[in-house]
Amino acid sequence: MSQYENGKDSLDANVGASKALKSLQEARLSPSPFLAARITAKALAAEPKLGATFGWRAFWAGALASVLLVATSFWVLNRKSQVVEYAVEQPYMLKVDLRSLDPQQISYVVIELQGQPIRFASEKFSEVAEMKSLTLKWENLVGKQYLPLVVKGTSAGDSKVVVHFYDENSGLIMSKDIKLKFSSGNI
């Protein structure tokens, strides 16, 4: 084979390779038809609802203000399966201990109120009383030792406050909870 023919073969091979590679520009690979819906649903589920309504700092300030006006009781939320008894219609501050958590891991926190007789309490943001859960961005808690929550029992009964800590991919890192018993009589 002459040098010319060798060169021509090599050129043809290059052209063929280049053409094959370019053919992938037209090849449209489609993922599962559910992938987009899955991503969207997860992204929207992870949206911090509180941040969209009002700022965490404002909520915290409001929560503290409401606490200053009334008698308060503090409970550090770091033990499980302990029932604490409280009077109805009295705001109480619960403090979630954040010291043992790795701040690098956490992206957001979801606070859930379980059981009928319990509500969030804030004088400034009365609408929180209608919410059964709040989502807070972790960036607003950086440097804090405790996350304070103000809750109120509306009638006698058992309730539970559960705090979930999530990473940026909505993976659950850990949960803390406290059981509350609200009573109408004197505590």
Partner: protein, 184 residues
Amino acid sequence: MTNVNWASLVEGLKKKDPEITRQFVDLTHQKLFEFCYYLCSNRQLAEDLCHDALLKALAQIHQLKEADRAMAWLKRIARNLLLDFQKSAEQSRTLVMDPEDEKWLAHDQKISEESMDAVQTLKKLDSGDREILILIEIQGHSYQEVAEILDLNIGTVKSRLHRARAEFSKKFIGTKSSLRSSIV
């Protein structure tokens, strides 16, 4: 994707607008999936990477400096996720195409024989050559965008592209002949 108003989309994402989030995912996920698939040659892994990269990007949208570069930014996130995945000891492996994926490419995605040869050749390249060809030759990114995605300077992108093209041509001939002989 040329007529997309990225600035307004990104602005909507920053405001956590659900409709804009939906639009953004619809608009970007297919190209991102394709990029991930060509990178890792595994359909399931590509879907996972695409899923995780988009969620990460949406959570960190405030870090996106230039809205027009959203697609390049997404690919950079996906590539970094793949590198993290491959770094973990259990997952370091060579790229092996699942036979089911091959059927999926040929039948469901209706890839031509020529394109299939190109996919098989891409798998034989080292990851640096592969990613540069995917970004420039298949997905049409500029040198500047590729430099940002791969964290390289433009000069390096150009020289790597030159080398990657040569490697691809060399391996493409081998791929074609081995495929033909396996058919015979």
